[in-house]
Amino acid sequence: MRPFKFSSTKDPNSAIKMLMDNTNAKFLAGGTNILDLMKEDVERPDELIDITSLHFTQIKTISEGTNKGGISIGGLSKNTDTANDPVIRRDFPLLTQAILAGASAQIRNMATNGGNLNQRTRCSYFYDTAMPCNKREPGTGCGAREGINRMHAIFGWTNNCVAVHPSDMCVALVALDAVVIVIGTDGKSRAIPFADYHRLPGDTPHKDNNLVPGELITSVEIPKNNFAGNSYYLKVRDRASYAFALVSVAAALEINGNQIKQVRIAMGGVAHKPWRAIEAEKFLLGKSASNENFKQAAEAEMQHAKPLEHNKFKVELGKRAIIRALTQAMNGGTNS
């Protein structure tokens, strides 16, 4: 690891100032992603600003504004505390399941919500500094495009980058129409709808998200919904646990009789950002919650997939995962 200066602060504005004063500085939260990448020499900050003492650790019901009745989770709350918050478990179980599908107990105890949003891709070419990678070093090319791309994207990629966003938590958040709250250099808050937070690669794959320099994630807000009784997070991976998703699906339904009143579907492991399955949602809205309709919804979404050389299996897997997640959601979202 390259030498770096260690700084810390309890004041958000001075954290932002420190970041602005040194263009090579980075925030340090749980450290589970940035330290790993520094050991690999992929990230090379010369200063780390420890932000874990900032007070953005609350999880609370929102009492005013557009998301009134929803829940606000602190940017620095730990993933474990967020998943196990009693209100989140009761009213937003999809988020609990998605967080718990990620990493391991040890890592979730360390990882923060803000860090989870800003974690970088696990593309092996991104990690290997001997390989070309437009995300790591713009202009060098994409090692994965013609390389081993089994784990890579089937939606929204460009020749510049075919990586996927690795987070499970973010898949649930995009399904639940969450909003990312950040503060910037002027000390003011800005709200970014979750679907606009992460980016597709386009020709700037080095940018994962739409934060502007100096911005700090203070919380994520989830509006109130009626999905708690019928939601499910399904993760398919190479081993039963402690592995990144090949494909994952967050499904949430609001049912009236047998009619689908509201539906949210999002996928992980398929794109550079958590992928909202708009086509499947459109198909299902107002229809009956039947296996046949789930199947057609899955077809509607996956017909737009553009697999790469080694990940054609993700198209069929994605279909089946959508159907299975919707079915589990209809069964009350339990594992039994």
Binding site: P3, T32, R89, N109, M110
Partner: protein
């Protein structure tokens, strides 16, 4: 010759470097007070020199040999980006000056002589370095020592109390929850924390219904497997690890998956656990 004798012993920086290159020889070297000239010879002989020059400015190594030690420039060669940090380890207060890059794992192993916690992957992928910080299991390889100010760390060395093994330790022995033993300190620390998590009713990805109110849980084998998935065992001692954890968690005896040879000296096996 006289001047030679006045040469300072290794600077802090050189010691750190040496620790990195050849941690196993470090104790011997500090104990014997190896001199700098000898150190330079050593690192050259070990082929570490090239690596050293990448890490240290060339003049940092050689400057001192040509400078009168009376000028006392030792400080200049001391730990780069040093951070002072004080925390508790197994109940005892420790204060250290560390390089900002030093992980908690390296601080425990290389500075505090607590080598129970193991470095398997150093990248968060195996769990061998698991320790308990402020009651929660974490990975010490992805934790900077500098961030541990005021915290309370428990390692495998701190679990036994007054000579009595922690119940999880005893159960690992009874159930033969290891083969080579490398993953074991991490497995045990992880399992100890898991007991508290289950008592608090924390959910896992395989929990039947996460919406149910959190109450003390009786964990199934599947639950134990999922909750222990952050600890990889290359020897594959998993069935025995689960048996050990299940026994402590349930408070009831669990049949061993193995037994000593039977009365007629024939090996006997059971399929319990």
């Amino acid at each position: 010759m006289e001047i030679e004798n006045k040469k300072p012993s290794l600077t802090e920086e050189e010691k750190t470097l040496f620790e990195k290159l050849m941690p196993e020889d470090m104790n011997e070297i500090s104990a014997l007070g190896v001199q700098r000239r000898h150190f330079l010879k050593l690192i050259t002989l070990t082929g570490g020199a090239l690596f050293v020059f990448q890490m240290l400015d060339r003049h940092q190594i050689f400057a001192q040999s040509s400078v009168d030690p009376a000028l006392n420039i030792v400080k200049a060669g001391s730990i780069e980006n040093s951070v002072n940090v004080a925390f508790r380890v197994n109940g005892a207060r420790k204060a250290l000056e560390v390089d900002s890059r030093m992980t908690l794992l390296d601080a425990l192993r290389e500075r505090l002589e607590l080598t129970g916690s193991k470095k398997g992957c150093d990248h968060g992928q195996c769990g061998a370095c698991t320790v308990i910080v402020d009651g929660r299991r974490i990975l010490s390889c992805l934790t900077l020592a500098a961030t541990c100010e005021g915290k309370s760390v428990t390692t495998i060395e701190g679990l036994a109390k007054r000579g009595a093994l922690h119940p999880v330790q005893a159960a690992f022995i009874k159930h033969d929850g290891f083969q080579c033993g490398y993953c074991t300190p991490g497995q045990i620390c992880s399992a100890v924390a898991l007991m508290t998590e289950a008592k608090n009713g924390e959910a896992s990805y395989v929990t039947a219904n996460v919406r149910a109110k959190a109450t003390s849980l009786q964990l199934s084998d599947d639950e134990i497997r999922e909750r222990m998935s952050g600890n990889i065992c290359r020897c594959g001692a998993y069935p025995n690890i689960i048996a050990a954890i299940k026994e402590v968690h349930s408070g009831k005896d669990v049949v061993q998956t193995w037994q000593f040879t039977g009365e007629n000296n024939q090996p006997t096996f059971t399929t319990g656990g």
